[in-house]
């Protein structure tokens, strides 16, 4: 079922019920006004009479005050009231006295015939009327068929509700007819109420809109109120619970008021459209709760007053509905009409009590009639409201959908743009990436080259030094060999001369003389001394060569970077050997190496590079001073130390060179930092040294002072 058809069906249904109601109205118009005989009544308040007076004495009292209203109103109080009705036994006996108010709590009727009580009827909410005495829902009292000079009916009344006395005397058939009419009318009314209740409950269950539930409860309360007011309380079986029965009117008053407030607040969206009224209604809400509490605590008259006062709240609903309607909330129109009708009905109901308009069946039924109209109109209003909400919801959904579509389009467009951008950026990034990768590769290879060139520089320095170290011995060994050969030839000449001497040469003397001459010529003593010196030189040269070669062998363990066990002193010695020729011209290098140092795991080749670098730097620093060669010092020492719970091998390389300031000292391990002129030194030496020492978990401390020198302290953990 489409939304629209659904809406129309609701309105159609409501129209149908309205039609039924109109028919009922037409029917009830046949009602004729009944003769209430309030003006025949006389009243007396309990306060004005002696406490212990006999009823028959009271009947004869002179204090009775005649009533002037058609429907006497004895007001709202806890006081007991008395009414006297003088009857005409000739025409009125056998008839019924009917008081059309089912809400009187205590209503006792004494029939007094010539000063004698001949019948007592106990009616009202307090008492359970015998079934066979019930005629209709209102209390009624049969006038006995007796012969009396003077017949009086005395009524003792007490109620927590206003004591309105619409009293008439009529025949049982008429009472029955009235009761029947009321039954029919109220049945129709309750039919309407019930249908609306079930209908709205059904709507609530099927649609789930809370306002239908609120409205259902509201209908229940309004209908219940009418039921109780018109004496249909037994329908609830309330008679079996006297406590509740007595307060039923109050409870229904409270709950119908509360539900009206809640329903109106939500229906008119008062918190949104008319906040002040919303707050005001909240005050009424609280007052109703107070009334409820008063009811529970037996302060029934007070409670009724509060409820009465609170009923005024509905008058605020009219301006509230108008303001809401003005603000463009269409369902408020139905609400306005519904409550206008209801308020009109209430006005009629109230005015008839004050006597301003006649008390007849019409005015009497104004309230249920108005209530029925109200219920139906409100149901229409609710449907309209639901439709409005649905329309708004649909509109909002449509707008949302449209917005969503627009958004989606924007998002789609954006996506395309974004994708494009992402693609572009990705491409750019990839390009940059590849460029960077290339740069990185170049840098890595450059770094490798630099490290390699630093290594090569070390090796170059090394080979130059070693070449020189080897050159000298080679030079004098080879030269001495040649000289030796010549000296040997000289000696050989002597030997040959001696050898050629015949054992028995007669000229031996002169031959010996010749040899002596030869000895003198060859300066053989000098030659012998020279041979000695040359041999010493050759021996020394051989020793030195082998020492250098051994040092080289240790030093040049630059094969791979394997960690092996090595002795630090051996490494240091070999470094000093290969550096000796370079160092000799720069400064005095002394080594103070501790004995019995344990071997430790290290990379000997790389450590040699470390020591060579630092010692060379130290010697150069010393050379840069104004000191004479003998005064320039580089001291290399090794030591075993115990510190922070560990054993270390400590290497100290100390010079009395130019030293460094803090700024230079802070940078010495930075790559490419150098104090040497451009073109000399790569600036990588110490940075590589640092890397190597880090690989050895070594601690490095540098102490330096300008003009005094520098000391490197390196500690290897063992």
């Amino acid at each position: 079922m489409s939304k629209k058809r659904f809406r129309w069906s609701i309105i159609a249904w409501n129209s149908r019920s309205l039609f039924v109601l109109l028919c009922l109205l037409g029917w009830s118009s046949s009602f004729t006004g009944q003769g209430y005989i309030g003006k025949r009544l006389e009243s007396l308040s309990q306060k004005e009479i002696p406490e212990l007076i006999q009823v028959n004495d009271l009947a004869a009292s002179e204090q009775w005050v005649p009533r002037t209203e058609v429907v006497p109103n004895l007001g709202l109080s806890n006081d007991t009231q008395w009414l006297r009705l003088k009857l005409d036994p000739r025409i009125e006996n056998g008839q019924l006295i009917e008081i059309q108010n089912a809400g009187i709590d205590e209503l006792i009727c004494y029939m007094v015939c010539d000063g004698e009580i001949i019948a007592t009827y106990e009616r009202g909410v307090f008492y359970e009327t015998p079934v066979d005495s019930r005629i209709g829902t209102y209390p009624s009292f049969p006038i006995p068929l007796v012969e009396c000079g003077e017949l009086q009916a005395l009524f003792r009344l007490q109620s927590s509700k206003p004591l309105l006395i619409p009293l008439r005397i009529t025949g049982p058939r008429e009472v029955l007819r009235g009761a029947h009419e009321r039954d029919v009318l109220f049945a129709a009314y309750f039919g309407v109420i019930l249908v609306m209740l079930l209908y709205n409950l059904f709507l609530f269950l099927s649609i789930g809109d809370r306002s239908y539930l609120e409205y259902s409860i509201y209908i229940l309360m309004v209908g219940g109120t009418q039921l109780v007011l018109n004496g249909y309380a037994p329908v609830f079986g309330a008679e079996n619970v006297p406590w509740l029965n007595l307060r039923l009117t109050h409870f229904f008053g409270v709950f119908s008021g509360l539900t009206t407030i809640v329903f109106a607040q939500n229906f008119l969206r008062l918190s949104h459209y008319v906040p002040w009224l919303h707050k005001l209604l909240n005050v009424y809400f609280v007052l109703y709760v107070v009334a409820f509490v008063l009811t529970v605590f037996d302060l029934l008259v007070w409670s009724y007053s509060v409820i009465n006062f609170c009923a005024g709240a509905i008058f605020f609903l009219i301006p509230g509905a108008i303001i809401t309607m003005r603000k463009g909330y269409a369902p408020a129109r139905y609400f306005l009409i519904a409550f206008s009708v209801f308020i009109a009905a209430v006005l009629v109901f109230v005015l008839k009590d004050t006597g301003l308009i006649p008390y007849n069946q019409w005015t009497f039924f104004a309230l249920p009639l108005g209530s029925a109209f109200e219920v139906i109109l409100l149901s229409l209003a609710l449907a309209s409201r639901i439709n409005q909400l649905k329309r708004e919801g649909a509109k909002a959904r449509e707008e949302q959908l449209e917005l969503a579509q627009v958004n989606e389009k924007i998002v789609r467009d954006q996506n395309v743009v974004l994708e494009e951008r992402v693609k572009k950026r990705t491409f750019e990034l990839e390009e940059i990436n590849s460029t960077m990768q290339g740069t990185l590769n170049e840098l890595q290879s450059a770094q490798q080259q630099l490290i390699q060139s630093e290594k090569l520089a070390s090796i170059g320095q090394l080979t130059a030094g070693i070449a020189h170290e080897l050159n000298n011995p080679i030079n004098f060994v080879s030269s001495s060999a040649q000289s030796l050969r010549r000296d040997f030839e000289d000696l050989n000449a002597i030997v040959e001369a001696v050898k050629s001497l015949p054992a028995n040469d007669p000229n031996l003397e002169s031959r010996i003389q010749d040899i002596h001459t030869l000895l003198g010529q060859l300066d053989i003593e000098f030659t012998q001394q020279e041979i000695e010196e040359l041999l010493n030189g050759i021996e020394d040269g051989a020793n030195r060569t082998s020492e250098i070669v051994r040092g080289l062998r240790i030093f040049s363990r630059m094969d791979g970077d394997n960690f092996i066990q090595a002795n630090i002193n051996e490494l240091m010695n070999s470094t000093l050997v290969v550096l000796r020729s370079n160092l000799r011209t720069q400064s005095q290098v002394t080594a103070d190496l501790a004995e019995d140092l344990p071997e430790f795991s290290c990379q000997p080749g790389r450590l040699n590079q470390v020591f060579m670098n630092i010692i060379t730097n130290a010697a150069q620093a010393a050379e840069s001073t104004d000191l004479a060669l003998e005064e320039r010092e580089v001291v290399v020492s090794t030591l075993r130390v115990e510190s922070i719970g560990q054993s270390w091998i400590e290497v100290r390389i100390k010079d009395n060179g130019v030293g460094m300031d803090d700024a230079v000292k802070a940078q010495i391990f930075d790559p490419f930092f150098t104090t040497k002129p451009v073109g000399e030194g790569t600036g990588l030496g110490l940075s590589i040294v640092m890397g190597i020492l880090r690989d050895h978990n070594a601690e490095v401390d540098v102490q330096s002072e300008v003009g005094l020198g520098t000391e490197f302290i390196i500690r290897f953990p063992i």
């Binding site: 130059a464 070449a467 020189h468 050159n471 000298n472 011995p473 080679i474 030079n475 004098f476 080879s478 030269s479 001495s480 040649q482 000289s483 030796l484 010549r486 000296d487 020279e530 010196e533 040359l534 010493n536 030189g537 020394d540 040269g541 020729s581 000799r584 011209t585 060669l629």
Partner: protein
């Protein structure tokens, strides 16, 4: 015999050098630069050989040191390894005649020393001849000045003066021809 001075901090080199060349030259050897300076003062040294790499001072520095007082001896540098920058520097400044690398070749070194000595003597002769030339030029200048005086007042009038001018011209001729 050629007088050779050899300076080297390595005494074995000195021994080897003396053993190799004592038969050919007057060999003077020392490890100390100061001793070398003393020898230069006392001996008619013709050729000086110095090692480049020495602890106290380099060979080039040594040559610079002795140059002002001993310009004549021919200088040769002995280098252990190709310290090529120092060598270039030394040659450009005219401080050395040749450089020899270790280990030396005995025959080559011997002929180099002989060449150097020959150069030394050639320089000596040229210097002497130059000196003689200067002396003659001075004498000739004296005669020329006299001729100028005689011809100052125009052509010489007297036969005596004419004869004197002819005599002076003959004198200059003779000087220049020698």
């Amino acid at each position: 015999m050629i007088n050779v001075l050899y300076l080297d901090d390595e005494s074995h080199n000195l021994t080897a050098f003396r053993a190799a060349f004592r038969r050919d030259f007057h060999v003077h050897v020392t490890t100390e630069p100061t001793e070398a300076v003393r020898i230069l003062r006392e001996q008619p040294i013709e050729v000086i050989i110095s090692d480049q790499k020495m602890p106290s001072l380099s060979g080039v520095e040594f040559f610079e040191l002795i140059m002002p007082d001993n310009p004549d001896p021919v200088r040769m540098l002995l280098t252990g390894h190709a310290d090529i920058d120092a060598v270039i520097d030394a040659i450009n400044k005219g401080q050395i005649y040749k450089y020899i690398s270790k280990p030396w070749n005995e025959a080559e070194l011997k002929s180099l020393v002989e060449e150097a000595a020959a150069l030394y003597h050639q320089r000596k002769v040229m210097a002497r001849e130059g000196q003689q030339l200067i002396t003659k030029m001075d004498e000739a200048r004296v005669f020329a000045r006299r001729i100028q005086q005689l011809t100052a007042d125009g052509f010489p009038a007297t036969p005596e003066s004419r004869a004197e001018i002819a005599e002076l011209a003959n004198q200059i001729d003779r000087l220049l021809q020698s």
